[in-house]
C-alpha cells in the first residue's frame, strides 16, 4: 500500500500530486518535466515537500500536519535512479552489499550470493560498474536496492537507458523478480509500454495528475 499526497512549489513549477495504490506494481506515466522524478525523490526522502503526507506500507514517513519527516535512512525504500548511480569505485559485490551492516558476515554473504543468483549476476562479483553492460548495471542497482528488503522499490525510468532490443526481456525479468521476491514497486516512466506492466497507472502532467485509469 502506498499513499502519497504532496505539494511543493518551485520557481515556475508546482508539484501537486495525490494518489493511493494497492497494486504490487504502480506506474507514474508522464512526459519529462512532469514531476515524476520529483515525486519519487519526495517518497525516498531526498526532496522535502512544502506540505503533504506519505504512507508506505502502513508506515507514516512524512506528514507536515504532525511534523513527521523521516530521513531517507529510516524510510526503508529501495531507490533505483534512471542511470542506476552505481558506486563507481566499488565492485558488484560491494555495491550490492553496500546497505548491509556487515557485508562479510556469513549471513550477509549468503544473502548477497542469493540475490546475485536471482538477478543473473553470478560470476561478475569482482567487476566494477564500468565493466558491465547497461542491462547488468541495472540488475546490480536492483539487487543493491532489494538487499535491505525495502517496503517499496522506487524505479526511475528503469528501461529508458537500455538498448531497445533487450527492453522487452528486461521488463519480463522485473516482473519475474517481483513474483519471486514479492516486493511492492512504483515505477516512473514516459513510455506507455512500461506503464502497461503496472496494475495501476497514474498520469502526470506539469506537476499534476490528469487522470486515473482503472486497474488493468
Amino acid at each position: 500500500m502506498l499513499e502519497v499526497g504532496i505539494f511543493k512549489h518551485f520557481e515556475g513549477f508546482t508539484l501537486d500530486v495525490a494518489f493511493r495504490t494497492e497494486a504490487a506494481l504502480t506506474a507514474l506515466l508522464g512526459p519529462s518535466g512532469s514531476g515524476k522524478s520529483l515525486t519519487l525523490r519526495a517518497i525516498a526522502g531526498a526532496l522535502r515537500p512544502d506540505r503533504g503526507r506519505i504512507v508506505i506500507d502502513g508506515h507514516l514517513v512524512f506528514d507536515t500536519d504532525r511534523g513527521i519527516d523521516l530521513p531517507p535512512q529510516a524510510r526503508r525504500v529501495g531507490y533505483v535512479p534512471q542511470h542506476y548511480a552505481l558506486f563507481p569505485h566499488l565492485t558488484v559485490v560491494e555495491n550490492v552489499g553496500f546497505g548491509l551492516k556487515d557485508r562479510r558476515c556469513p549471513e550477509a554473504r549468503r544473502r548477497i550470493a542469493a540475490l546475485l543468483e536471482l538477478t543473473g549476476l553470478t560470476g561478475l562479483e569482482r567487476r566494477r560498474p564500468r565493466e558491465l553492460s547497461g542491462g547488468q548495471q541495472q540488475r546490480v542497482a536492483l539487487a543493491r536496492a532489494l538487499i535491505v528488503q525495502p517496503r517499496i522499490l522506487l524505479l526511475d525510468e528503469p528501461f529508458a537507458a537500455l538498448d531497445a532490443t533487450i527492453r522487452a526481456s528486461v521488463r519480463a525479468s522485473l516482473l519475474e523478480l517481483q513474483r519471486v521476491l514479492g516486493f511492492q514497486a512504483l515505477l516512473v516512466t514516459h513510455d506507455p509500454v512500461d506503464a502497461a506492466l503496472a496494475g495501476q497507472v497514474f498520469v502526470l502532467e506539469r506537476g499534476r495528475l490528469v487522470r486515473e485509469p482503472s486497474s488493468g
Binding site: 531517507p72 548511480a85 543473473g120 549476476l121 542491462g135
Partner: protein, 297 residues
C-alpha cells in the same frame, strides 16, 4: 520462464570490445604530422622545452658531476632548511585537509547568501602577488598589525616564527586545494549519495564511503598542488616570517640566502627541489590517471 536470468538479459558486452574503430583515426592523425606547418610547430615546442630544460640542466650539471650532493648535504643550512620545509609544508597540508575539505564541501553543496563572495575570496590568494600576501599578513598578524595587540595580550607573537611560515604557506597554498576539492565534490553525482541514504547509511558515513572515494582524484590533485605551492613559497614568507636559519628559513629562502655565501648549498637545495617537484608531477599523473579511470564509470 525457465531460462536463467543471465540468458534472458540478452545484452551484449560493452562497446569497448571494438577497439579498432576508435583507435585508428587518432593514429592516422598523428602520422600526418610532418608537413611544413607542423615543422614550425615542432620548432616552437622545441624552443619552449629548451627554455625550461636549460635552467634545470644547468643546476644538475653543477651538482651531479662534482659530487656536491654528498659533501653539502650535511651542512647546517641545508639540513635545517630541509627539516623546516618538511615540517612547515606538512603542517600546511594538514590545515588544508582539515579546514579546506569542509570549506570545499560547503562551497560545492550549499546555497547560502555570500557563497559566490566566499568562493572568490578563497581563490584570491591564487592570483595575488606573494609580496601583497606578505604585507597583508604583516598588517593583520604582525606586532603592530590589526590583531597584533590582541595576540600579544594572549602572549602570542607570530611574526618571524615558524608559525608565521605556516601561516604564509596556508594563505598562498590552501586555495589550490580548496578549488580542486570543490570541483571534485561538485562532480560527484548527488544520486549516489541519495541511494546511499536510502540504503540506511548515515550522511557522515556516506561522505566517507561514497563522496570522498569518488572525488579522490581531485582531492589528491589539489593536495599535491597545495603542497607543491607551499614548498615553493618565498615572497610572503620572507616578508612575514623573515629568513632565520632553523626557524623560518625554508628551502627557497635558504637558496636565496646562500646564493652569495654558499653557492654549493644553494645548488644542492635547488637540485633537491627540482627532483622532488618532478617526482610529484609524475606520481600525480599516474595516481590521478588510474583513479579517474575508476571514477568516471
Amino acid at each position: 520462464m525457465s531460462r536463467p536470468w543471465s540468458e534472458r538479459f540478452a545484452d551484449t558486452r560493452h562497446a569497448g570490445a571494438v577497439p579498432g574503430r576508435t583507435v585508428q583515426p587518432a593514429r592516422l592523425a598523428r602520422r600526418a604530422l610532418p608537413s611544413p606547418g607542423s615543422a614550425l610547430l615542432l620548432v616552437g615546442a622545441g624552443l619552449l622545452a629548451l627554455l625550461i630544460l636549460a635552467p634545470v640542466a644547468a643546476i644538475f650539471g653543477r651538482v651531479l658531476p662534482s659530487g656536491l650532493l654528498l659533501t653539502t648535504l650535511g651542512r647546517p643550512i641545508v639540513v635545517e632548511a630541509l627539516r623546516l620545509t618538511a615540517l612547515t609544508t606538512l603542517l600546511t597540508l594538514l590545515v588544508a585537509l582539515v579546514l579546506g575539505t569542509p570549506t570545499a564541501w560547503l562551497l560545492a553543496r550549499w546555497r547560502f547568501p555570500g557563497r559566490v563572495l566566499l568562493d572568490s575570496l578563497i581563490e584570491l590568494p591564487m592570483v595575488l602577488p606573494p609580496a601583497v600576501a606578505g604585507i597583508g599578513l604583516l598588517m593583520a598578524f604582525g606586532r603592530r598589525g590589526l590583531f597584533g595587540p590582541a595576540l600579544e595580550a594572549l602572549g602570542i607573537n607570530l611574526s618571524f616564527t615558524t608559525a608565521a611560515v605556516v601561516l604564509a604557506q596556508v594563505f598562498v597554498a590552501v586555495p589550490f586545494y580548496v578549488r580542486s576539492a570543490r570541483s571534485g565534490f561538485l562532480a560527484v553525482d548527488r544520486e549516489l549519495e541519495i541511494v546511499a541514504h536510502t540504503l540506511g547509511v548515515s550522511r557522515w558515513a556516506t561522505f566517507w564511503r561514497v563522496t570522498v572515494p569518488v572525488a579522490l582524484p581531485s582531492l589528491l590533485g589539489g593536495a599535491t598542488m597545495c603542497w607543491a605551492r607551499a614548498l615553493g613559497e618565498f615572497g610572503a614568507t620572507i616578508m612575514f616570517a623573515g629568513s632565520f636559519q632553523g626557524r623560518t628559513q625554508t628551502m627557497p629562502l635558504a637558496i636565496y640566502a646562500a646564493l652569495e655565501s654558499d653557492l654549493e648549498a644553494a645548488l644542492v637545495l635547488a637540485a633537491i627541489l627540482v627532483a622532488v617537484s618532478f617526482v610529484v608531477l609524475l606520481v600525480l599523473r599516474q595516481a590521478v590517471g588510474r583513479l579517474s579511470g575508476v571514477a568516471d564509470a
